[in-house]
Amino acid sequence: MYNIFVSPHPPFIPIIKQFAKEYPGDVTFWTISQQWQKALSDLELPAKPISSVLTEQMQHHSFRESLRVINSLKTASNGVLTEITSTWPDNNLPSYLYNRLPDAINIMQIFDAVGMNLILLHNDVEPIMRLCAMYGRARGIPCLHVPHAVYLDNNDRGPVNSDIHDVITAANLAVAGPYQADWYITRAKEQQIKVEIRATGLPQFDRLAGANRDRAHACRLLNLDQQKPIVAYCSSWRQDTNLLGCYDGIEETFAAFLSAAQQLSDVQFVVSTHPRAGNFDWHVKQIKESGVPIVALPGVHFDTLLNAADLLISYGPSNVILEAACVPDVRLAVVGGGGGFDDDQEVSKMQPTVDGIAGGIVDSLAVNTLDRSKFAYKYAGPIDGLSVVRIYNWCKELLGKKDGISGTSNC
């Protein structure tokens, strides 16, 4: 019997399905939330929430240890946390920590009780995800981090190791392609941390293998006129974990975009927001107030938008650029957010001003798309639909099962 913790990341579902198919009754997938467990159970996959094994004794231990840590901090007299503790009343750090530490300690105890054999994560940065990766290192349990995105450098991120996303914790790391491999190798060297990195490709790009778009169909679905150009504007999330990203660039640039759109009455515009940014309603409100006829589209319809768009503009160096690069005839542009893709001529760079955006749209639509196959490979790796297979085989290897399924290939 194998116990695998899997973080809530829908692109993992094909991997889970393959395990369930090959080892029926022999693998249990443990989830952090009941919603994720339900999503898997609805697909008839063997999933249990970790909370189902929590005991009263574990909870007592968690609260006791949390208080010990918090009391230790109260008397701390050096280190950077004293900048927080010195403003203790304003920051209310004790209640902040007391709301969080017991959960973290519960998870560690549950992992011990279950006897986790593998930890599969889509990031090792957010608190609980990082805790799981730390647990894996401390207990010698294999932990595979399959990044939910390719982190891209820009002028706002600062040098290596100035942002929390630079920190590596999981012992095994799957990467998309050469760019992400180099990105993590550089950081691993600087952090002097041992990590096995393999270029497997990322599962979210598998669906784009051999993408052959049907623009007319997509236009019908979105009620857009296929005779007129369509521009997709992809907004972003605010990176408060790095001081250089901690400003209102998203809002400022979107205001400039709306004014630019007002000047281009022959162009149809569709706005998409980052799935976890929590600012979709804000964008809708701005569009309404501007009076410009723009469609705001929830992220679930993003693939339809990719099929319809003639030009995709991304705020900052987003992964949507990489996805759009896999779809024929979608021109690529980046605006604001510190720029990005400085060395890649496949991506136009627009100034985050009204004239910069309006002029950039006209110029971009006037030229044909370049061949983006090298660009896509550099950032997204092989778009062959087999990332899931390579990651599945690696999971089996980490579990001590050597017989991989067919499909391992060119990484």
């Binding site: 927080i84 100035s162 408060d240």
Partner: protein, 84 residues
């Protein structure tokens, strides 16, 4: 130099709206140094507090750094205001 509006946010703290000259090279250097110092400091300092053999506070760096950034920007704002 562009005066860039900045809304300072952090977990569980009230957002503060300020105007900071983030295109000023000296200010950008300060920002980078502050972020890097906070991150390194948090990582090192959190190693002191282990539970069941795991330095548990390290798991919260993602959120704690936002609080530190919030504190730093607030202090920087006060410094700028006092210079006016």
């Amino acid at each position: 130099m562009k005066q860039r509006k900045t809304t300072i946010k952090a977990i569980e703290l009230k957002p503060v709206e300020v105007v900071l000259d983030t295109n000023n090279p000296e200010f950008r250097t300060e920002l980078i140094e502050s972020s890097s110092r906070h991150l390194l400091g948090l990582e090192t300092y959190a190693m002191s507090y282990t539970v069941d053999g795991i330095p548990i506070l390290r798991a919260y760096t993602y959120e704690l750094i936002q609080i530190l950034n919030h504190t730093w920007l607030n202090n920087r704002l006060k410094k700028e205001e006092s210079n006016v």
